[in-house]
C-alpha cells in the first residue's frame, strides 16, 4: 500500500511540469495555413527530463513561448536571419535562417548544469521534427 502511494506521489511530482492539452495531431489541422511570404518554426520539447526547468524561449529578443516538457508551439515569421535563445543559468543560442514558405523544427534539449539543467535549442531535420512533435501537447505561443 505504502509503496503504491509513494509511486503515485513520485509519478505526480515528475509529471507536474509536463504539458497537458491537445496533442499535435489533434490540433494541427486547426492551425492557419502558412502565408506564402512567411516561414513557420515549430518549437517543441519532447523529453520529460528536467520538467521543472521551464525557461522562456526568445526569438531575436522577443519572448515567443516557454520550454515546457512534452509541449510545443509555433510562430510564423518573415524570411530572414534569426537567433533563438533560452536562458537558465546560462544562455543557449541557435542561429537559423528562414526562407519563404519554409517550415523548420527546433527541438529543445536538456543537458546537465551546475545548479539547474541547461535547455538548448537544436535545429532538426523536418522528418525527425514531424515524428517527435506528434506526442507533444500544444501550449500556445507567448502573446
Amino acid at each position: 500500500m505504502n509503496a503504491r502511494f509513494c509511486f503515485v506521489v513520485v509519478a505526480a511530482f515528475l509529471l507536474a511540469g509536463c504539458a497537458t492539452g491537445p496533442k499535435y495531431g489533434e490540433i494541427a489541422p486547426s492551425f492557419g495555413k502558412l502565408s506564402p511570404d512567411k516561414a513557420r518554426i515549430y518549437v517543441y520539447r519532447a523529453s520529460a527530463l528536467g520538467a521543472a526547468v521551464q525557461p522562456q524561449v526568445k526569438l531575436n529578443g522577443e519572448t515567443i513561448g516557454t520550454a515546457v516538457s512534452q509541449g510545443f508551439f509555433y510562430v510564423d515569421r518573415a524570411p530572414g536571419h534569426y537567433e533563438m535563445m533560452t536562458s537558465t543559468e546560462v544562455d543557449r543560442k541557435l542561429s537559423l535562417t528562414l526562407d519563404k514558405g519554409q517550415t523548420r523544427y527546433v527541438r529543445l534539449n536538456i543537458s546537465l548544469g551546475f545548479f539547474v539543467g541547461h535547455v538548448y535549442p537544436e535545429l532538426v531535420e523536418p522528418d525527425v521534427g514531424q515524428k517527435e512533435i506528434q506526442e507533444c501537447s500544444y501550449i500556445g505561443q507567448q502573446k
Binding site: V90, R92, K93, L94, S95, L96, G113, L123, E125
Partner: protein
Amino acid sequence: MKPHWMQACACLAMTVAAGCAFDVYHLKQLPATIESGRSVRDSFQLAKEQEVALDNSYKRTLRKGTKWTYVGTVQQGDVFRTADQILTVEASNVHEAYIDVSSDKLVGFYLPVEKAYSPLSEPVDLSIGAVVPGKNQ
C-alpha cells in the same frame, strides 16, 4: 554546528561557480563579407559522405547525394548551401552553417546569421559528383 572550513568551502564553491562561464567552447569566427554578384559557380552533388568538425565543435556529416547550391564568395572561398540536410556547427551554441569550398576542398563554414567565417584547421577533400550548371539562388 558546522565546522568553519565546510562553510568556507561552500562559500568558495558558490563564488567560483557563480563566475563560471558554461559556454567555454567557442567557435573561431572571422567577420566575412559574402559577394554574390560577380560570377556564378556551378552547383554540385556530393558523391560520398564526408565527416567533418571544426576545432571545439561536434562532428557533422555531409551526406552523400546532397546537392549544394552556390550562394556567394567570401575571401576564403565559394559558399554553398543545401536544402537536402540540416547543417549546423555546434560548440556551446548552435549555428546554422553553409560550406566554404576552395579547389574542391572544404576549407571552413560560413555562418549566415553571424556573417562570419569559421575555418577548418585542416582542409578536407570533397568528393564532387554531378555538377549542375546553375544560377545564384
